[in-house]
């Protein structure tokens, strides 16, 4: 058992410290100090994370699970306690490293990117808040802790997307992102409540150790239906997955991610490509045995993942906004990871190639996608537009960026020996081994599409003639702080696959992960060749359209004479519009209006009627006071008779 608890504290405390200090003091004093402090703090965090990781993997203890610390947070009953702790196993270690490294690099990048921004201090503090909450999420020992940091991650994402709060588009994008994820989280919470009620525990160990057969007997009333506790668990697991569904922007809830690109680019790179959006995948991977135990969940994961993969890739082929292309590519990559997890189910048996592949892809994807975003950021920073139309011919101006970009693009397209190749290959293999042949085909197709749109982006951005003033006049240069991280990231983008394949094969092997009925399958050796072939073909197509000497880029780019199908795809199948329709018309215009009607007219109306009625009675009484003495005298006599008959006097 490794014992560097004190160091592991640092991983979490440093970002928190940075957040607090920058947010409260430094932020308003000087941006430089804030930036320096942020970089140093996250650097320390990264170093300590690496130390812990090295210790862990070098120890004989790996790849078992360990809990470094676990403070009780809130006690619901004896041995039904929510705790805050640090769970250590290959998966979480990997994520810890990824998060700290990337947040360190992005902090460096932001030094350049945020130069001259009024509120850089706030930016750095929020960025650290994010990495703190992401680390907390990754380290979660139980689902309650995960939910806590899950929410915090969402909030920091909200704050960072809306960082330029005077930009209406950014504000609305941040709102949309938060509300959509929140919507998913409400199901997550419900799932937690149901599952924890059945199991009487939040602990991952307990959940992953479950077997449904124990819960078949007693039933539970879920309000609308009475089900057996086993079914309740399945429902619960699906609900829990829904949280990841929203966070990872899987298909119907995907629209927030592309819109989130309104935020500053470093934010997009760390939150919306590398780390936060994979939280959903991480959740699924973390609870994999539990999901596997309740089989239906995996099917849902498979379908959702596969569909999103294709869907996003198709859209990505048509976009012009460089960041949106990357966003959709992120979606599609997330789709890969998701369905890889789902693909692990063959009937009742479960294979874990997909699990390994998915986690592996999280790892590799983090680096090259982050790098790509940073590159896009620096392009935008130089060209002052997101639009590919206005770029082009940047190869000469930004050589370092160009070469790193090439590496990353090759990586994501799965060309050996770049990192993407290995993980993606694993995933496709998993689909094949899981006998999900349709998904397998889709995966191949998508890898082709990926190559196509990535190289489309690449060629349009760097090759050809400049289509923008600032490029021609040569204002463009490479900022040191912004280029450094890109170059650094290019290295793992190139090598991480090759080097860490061994680690993943060794530590992330099925045997160490307890899931029911493991089945071992032989590798299908031919798959990598097919995949690469597809990729190369796609590459050539892209080259032919956008980079070959006789390619007419202007004609390709101009908007007239587009097929209607293209338009539909270009408008993302009109999903944003549908969403707004639903929210505006149905929620705000429908339910809320009805609710307010009930309040303002029915309830207040009844109230008003009562008041009016009492006042009428009062008028009656006053009407009797006409001042007529004879009438008054009459009341005396009437009174006597009245009480004679109403007075209940016994005679």
């Amino acid at each position: 058992m490794i014992n560097d608890v004190s160091i592991s504290y640092l991983i979490f405390l440093m970002p928190l410290l940075v957040f607090a200090v920058n947010g409260l003091f430094l932020g308003r004093k000087s941006d430089k100090a804030a930036a320096a402090f942020a970089v140093i703090g996250n650097g320390i965090a990264m170093v300590s994370a690496l130390i812990v990781a090295v210790h862990y993997f070098s120890s004989s203890f790996a790849p078992q699970k360990a809990i470094l610390f676990n403070f009780p947070f809130l006690e619901f009953a004896d041995n039904f306690v929510a705790r805050i702790g640090l769970l250590i196993d290959p998966l979480s270690m990997m994520m810890l490293v990824v998060v700290t490294v990337i947040s360190f690099l992005v902090n460096i990048y932001s030094v350049g990117y945020m130069k001259g921004d009024r509120s850089a201090g706030r930016f750095f503090s929020l960025l650290s808040l994010f990495s703190f909450s992401m680390l907390g999420l990754v380290a979660a020992t139980n689902i309650f802790q995960m939910f806590i940091f899950w929410e915090l991650v969402g909030v920091s994402s909200y704050l960072l997307i809306g960082f330029w709060y005077h930009k209406p588009s950014a504000v609305s994008a941040s709102k949309q992102a938060f509300i959509l994820t929140r919507f998913a989280d409400s199901f997550f919470l419900l799932g937690i409540v149901i599952v924890s009620y059945v199991v009487q525990s939040f602990d991952f160990f307990t959940l992953n150790g479950l077997t449904l057969s124990a819960f078949k007997k007693e039933t539970i009333d879920l309000g609308l239906m009475v089900v057996s506790k086993a079914e309740a668990l399945i429902i619960g697991s699906i609900l829990i997955f829904t949280g990841g569904w929203g966070k990872s922007a899987m298909f119907p809830m995907h629209i927030w991610l592309p819109n989130a690109m309104e935020g500053p680019t470093p934010v997009s790179s760390i939150i919306h490509s590398a780390t936060m959006v994979v939280a959903g995948v991480y959740l699924a991977a973390r609870l994999f045995p539990f999901f596997a135990a309740c089989g239906e969940t995996l099917d849902i994961i498979l379908v959702v993942g596969a569909f999103t993969m294709v869907f996003a890739a198709v859209i990505a082929c048509t976009q012009k906004d460089i960041k949106r292309i990357l966003a959709y590519s992120t979606l599609s990559q997330l789709g890969y990871m998701m369905f890889a997890l789902g693909a692990c189910k063959i009937g009742d048996a479960v294979i874990t190639t997909g699990w390994t592949a998915s986690t592996f892809h999280i790892f590799t994807h983090a680096f090259f996608k982050c790098a790509l975003f940073l590159i896009a950021g620096s392009l935008i920073h130089q060209v002052h537009t997101n639009d590919l139309d206005a770029m082009g011919g940047l190869r000469k101006k930004m050589p370092l960026t160009y070469w790193s970009a090439l590496i990353c693009v090759l990586a994501i397209s799965g060309i050996p020996p770049f990192s993407g190749f290995f993980s993606k290959d694993e995933i496709i293999l998993a689909a094949f081994q899981g006998h999900h042949y349709i998904v397998f085909g889709l995966a191949l197709l998508t890898s082709g599409l990926t190559t196509f749109y990535m190289f489309r982006l690449f060629f349009l951005a760097f090759h050809g003639a400049p289509r923008c003033k600032s490029v021609e006049q040569g204002h463009v240069h490479e900022d040191f702080f912004m280029t450094l991280p890109i170059v650094i990231l290019a290295v793992p983008a190139l090598l991480s696959g090759l080097l860490s394949k061994g680690i993943f094969e060794h530590y992330f092997v099925p045997g160490k992960l307890r899931v029911p009925q493991l089945v071992h399958l032989a590798h299908a050796e031919w798959i990598p060749y097919v995949a690469v072939a597809v990729a190369v073909v796609a590459l050539l197509i892209a080259w032919f359209f956008y980079a070959s000497p006789k390619a007419k880029v202007e004609r390709v780019l101009d908007e007239s004479n587009r097929s209607s199908l293209y338009k539909v795809v270009y408008h993302k199948f009109y999903f944003d519009e549908m969403y707004y329709a639903v929210v505006r018309q149905f929620v705000i215009g429908g339910i809320a209006r009805v609710a307010r009607f009930i309040q303002d007219y029915i309830i207040e109306g009844i109230l008003a009627f009562c008041v009016w009625f009492v006042h009428k009675l009062g008028d009656l009484v006053r009407y009797a006071q006409g001042g007529n003495l004879t009438f008054y005298l009459g009341t005396l006599l009437v009174g006597v008779l009245l009480w004679r008959f109403l007075g209940q006097l016994p005679f």
């Binding site: 709060y165 938060f178 409400s186 009620y197 109230l607």
Partner: protein, 503 residues
């Protein structure tokens, strides 16, 4: 000694009023200083007593107060005409509510520093209101309890109608009369409680030892529960709160939403459910149905409103619905969640109304469509409001999340179908809360700023102090819920034991 200090809590405000009475109304700064000083004094006193209670621990509670485990317990005859006693005492729940009150009152005094109108009278009224609320949370004798409980009606109308804004007379009357309606229901049942109990005592301690006749409970419990629920704006009787809050001056909104609405929930728990658990078991599962309006429709109504205070009022309505969900669960976790929510929502809504008031002082409008982008001019207040918002939508790290998670988990342990349905709906409706809070924050703080707001100035030290303290309270509970939860558990225990022992 402690007991003496404890009684000072409600005496000090009165003394302050008497001290200020002879001072000439012109010398406002002097008056305000005195009031602020007394507010701070009480705050420190309550803080000290809370710490004492925590350090003394449950085992040093007054023996004679069993089955309740009260500290600072004293019981002396008061009005022998109907043998009312002066009985006060506190356990964790009371103490925290007292602390909440002290903070809110202190904040209220500071916030209404430059209120228009006769300040002398206004601050005197605030102190009276404070007295009544302190009294409610201290008293262990039903007559005393009711006297303090009803006292607030005396101040409320004068403060709202005299110093409020908008339809102040309407709002004030609506609030006062509805609350009076509720307390009259309570009073009617109190007599029954006294005479039907057979031991002719008003003392909570005494009454909790016996079981009231069932047929009496069956009609008394709903009457009393609804009576208390009126002031916590449970569904059919929630209509007073939006108009009341929106008409009231900042301090009063803070006190009304932050503290007075808790008095009702506290009464439901401490008196109605504690003394009549058998009937509670029968009735509460049906009461839950009312919550559908509070918890589910409340946020939607807030969605349609443009006035900040209306929005906040409806958010309070939905949050208080959660309190009742926790109560109706009748499980230890649920009850704890309810009491946590009482405290947390107190700070939360206090912060809400405080920031809204400060913003209103500057922009002179509460219509969010007229504002926009003022975050740039009022960063501090903006952040304050956003924090309140996040706490309101149950963000982990703030007290709201702790309370809500307790309530949800606790309510789900209650088997009845209706409760399950409402719980599920409640959990799902956290999204709606997010929607209206974000919408409000965005409309008000973000986007383009109208030119007329260029001259706005951010919060002064006094206002910052209030906001910071409230935020700290929210964070304290949110980050270290353990100890407060334990103290609450101790005070919930006897209540739950009684409910549990009921057939």
């Amino acid at each position: 000694m402690d007991t003496l200090l404890f009684n000072l809590i409600w005496v000090i405000p009165l003394i302050t009023v008497l001290v200020c009475a002879p001072i000439d109304g012109k010398r406002q700064s002097l008056l305000k200083t005195i009031h602020a000083a007394s507010g701070t004094l009480v705050l420190l006193l309550v803080g000290f007593l809370t710490y004492r209670l925590y350090s003394l621990g449950i085992e040093n509670a007054a023996k004679e107060s069993a089955p309740l485990l009260l500290h600072y317990y004293m019981d002396i005859p008061w009005l022998h005409m109907f043998n009312a006693h002066y009985a006060v005492g506190a356990d964790g729940l009371n103490m925290f509510l007292l602390f909440l009150t002290a903070v809110i009152v202190w904040g209220g005094i500071l916030v209404s520093w430059n209120i228009k109108g006769n300040q002398k009278v206004f601050f005197a009224l605030i102190q009276l209101l404070a007295t009544s609320v302190y009294g409610v949370f201290m008293s262990m004798d039903l007559v005393l309890f009711f006297v303090f409980y009803e006292m607030e009606a005396l101040c409320m109308y004068l403060m709202i109608a005299g110093y409020g804004s908008g339809r102040k007379d309407y709002g004030g009357k609506k609030l006062t009369l509805t609350l009076a309606f509720g307390s009259s229901m309570i009073l009617a049942t109190l007599f029954g409680l006294y005479f039907e109990s057979g031991i002719n005592s008003w003392s909570l301690v005494e009454l909790s030892k016996i079981t009231l006749p069932m047929d009496f409970q069956m009609w008394a419990f709903p009457l009393m529960f609804m009576g208390f629920a009126v002031s916590s704006s449970l569904f059919p009787f929630h209509f007073w709160s939006p108009d009341g809050h929106s008409a009231a001056p900042t301090a009063v909104s803070m006190l009304a939403a932050g503290v007075m609405m808790k008095m009702g929930a506290y009464g439901c728990l401490r008196v109605a459910m504690f003394l009549m658990p058998e009937a509670a078991k029968i009735w509460l599962p049906y009461v839950v149905a009312l919550l559908i309006f509070n918890v589910v429709l409340g946020p939607f109504i807030a969605l349609r409103h443009k006035d900040l205070k209306y929005i906040t009022a409806y958010s309070s309505i939905s949050h208080l619905g959660l309190i009742f969900l926790g109560l109706a669960a009748m499980t230890p976790v649920g009850l704890r969640g309810a009491s946590l929510q009482m405290i947390s929502h107190g700070f939360l809504t206090g912060l809400f109304f405080a920031t809204i008031g400060m913003i209103y002082e500057r922009t002179h409008t509460r219509d969010i469509t007229e504002m926009g982008g003022i975050m740039r001019k009022l960063p501090f207040l903006g952040v304050g409001f956003v924090i309140a918002g996040f706490a309101g939508l149950g963000l982990p790290g703030f007290s709201g999340f702790i309370a809500e998670s307790n309530i949800f988990i606790g309510a789900f342990q209650q088997e009845s179908t209706l409760t399950r349905i409402v719980t599920v709906l409640a959990i799902l409706s956290i999204t709606t809360t997010a929607v209206y809070i974000l919408q409000t924050a965005n409309r008000m703080l973000h986007g383009n700023m109208p030119a007329k707001y260029e001259t706005l100035t951010d919060a002064c030290f006094r206002e910052k102090l209030v906001v910071v303290v409230l935020v700290l309270c929210l964070l304290l509970i949110g980050v270290f819920p353990g100890w407060i939860a334990d103290m609450l558990d101790q005070s919930i225990a006897p209540i739950f034991a009684k409910i549990n022992s009921a057939l």
